[in-house]
Symmetry: C2
Subunit: 219 residues, 2 copies
Amino acid sequence: MNFSTAEENYIKAIWRLQQSDSNVTTNELSAELHTKPASVTDMLKRLKEKKILNYEPYYGVKLNAEGKKIALGIIRRHRLWEYFLVDKLNFEWDAVHAIAEELEHVSSPELIKRLDDFLGNPKADPHGDPIPDSNGRMEAMSNISLHQLKEQQQAIVTAVGDQSSNLLEMLKQKKISIGTKVEIKQRFLYDGSVEIKIRNQPLTTLSEQLSKNIFVKLL
Amino acid sequence: MNFSTAEENYIKAIWRLQQSDSNVTTNELSAELHTKPASVTDMLKRLKEKKILNYEPYYGVKLNAEGKKIALGIIRRHRLWEYFLVDKLNFEWDAVHAIAEELEHVSSPELIKRLDDFLGNPKADPHGDPIPDSNGRMEAMSNISLHQLKEQQQAIVTAVGDQSSNLLEMLKQKKISIGTKVEIKQRFLYDGSVEIKIRNQPLTTLSEQLSKNIFVKLL
DNA sequence: TCTTTTTTTTAGATTTACCTAAATTTTAAT
DNA sequence: ATTAAAATTTAGGTAAATCTAAAAAAAAGA
C-alpha cells in the first residue's frame, strides 16, 4: 500500500509516542503534529480503514504489526538522510532534521537501498539513534543516561534524547557530541545536577534534565 | 513565494514546452501532464494569480521572467539529483528520472547549494542536459545533431534529446553514452539512416529519428 | 461565409487534509 | 453519586487538485 505525506507523518508520530506510552491519545497526537484534535480523529478513521492500527473511539490508538513496519521504514529513510546530510554534505547535526523530514517521503526502495550502501550501512544517525534495517530491525539503544553514571565511571556518549534544536545547540556549546568521552566528577543533591569532565575541556555542570537526555555506554 | 508539488510540475512542463514553441496551449499541457484540459485551465488561473505567467483565456500561456526563474530552479534541482543518483549511487542513467521527479520538490536552498558543491559543481546531468546555476543561468547546449555530421567527421556525444526510457534503453544497447566518440561512415538517402563507428564496436546503423536526437560536439 | 470540428472554459462533483463549533463521552472532583 | 471539567467525536465547511459533462469560443473546411 501507498501512503501520503500526511499519513506518513501521522504514522511516524504515533510510533514515536507509542515508545513511551503504548496507548496514544488524540490530544497527544494533535500536540505532536500541530493539528486540531478533530483533524486527528478524521485521520485515525482513515488509517484504521487501511488496517495499520487499532483505533478505539475515545480510547486512543496503537499501531499494529503492519503499522510498525511502515513506521520503521519511514524512520529508516529519515535517519539515513540525516546521516547523508551530516556525513556527506557537512551539515551541522542540529540543522538536518527539517530537511530529512522532507526527504523521508521520497519512496523508492531502490533509492534507499543504494543510499544505505553508499553511506556504508551506518548503524546510527548523527544523533545516535539507531537506523532500522530494511526489515525494520534495529539495534537496542543504550538506556543508561549520563545522569545514572557513578562518580569516576568513564563512558562514551552514544545518543541524545531528542532532536530539538534547543538541546542540540546546548550540547554544541558544552562540546558534547556522539563519541565524546565523559566522566562525572561530582553530583549535587540539591538540584540533581552533575559536574562532568571532558578531555581538553574545563569542568562543566549539567542540569538533571540535560544529563538525563544524554545516553552513554560504559567503558 | 512557495509552490506546491503540483504547481511546480506545471511550471516545469510549461517551461519545457515553451522551449520549442513559445506559446503553450491547454491541450499541450494536458497531454504533457496526463491531466484533463479542464484541470489545466483551473491551474493556469491559479498560477496567473501568483503572477508568474501570462495566461490569455483561449490563447495559451507563457512564463514571465519570474516564472522562468522558478522553472530553472526546479530544473537545477532535478538535474543535480540525477547527477547524484548516477555518479554517487551508481544508478543507470535511464533509471533516475522518476526518482529525481520526487527529489526535485524538496526545497531547501542550503541543501541544493551543498549538494552542488559535494558533486563538484557539475555543468551537465547524466543525459548531457546543462544544469542551471543558482541564478538560473545555463550553458548553451550543442545544437548539432549526430545526423548533421559530415562523413569522416569525428565528434563526441554531449547530450540526448529526451529522457524517455525507450530512447535511453536503445542508446545503451548501441553502446552510446555521453562522451562517446562517434563518426559517420555512411549515409542512406533512402530512409535518412546513418551507419556509424564507435571505437571497439562493430559498425551499426541508426535511424534518422534516433540520430537527430543525439547531440554532439565536433572534434 | 457558413457550418462543422476542435479546443478551451465553465459548472458542478469528488477526495484529501485540514478547520470551527457543537455535541457527546470519559475522567476528575466534590 | 453527581456534577464540573477535560477529552474526543460529530457535523458541517474550506482549499487544493483533480474529474465529467455541458457550454462557449476559435479554427478549419466546404
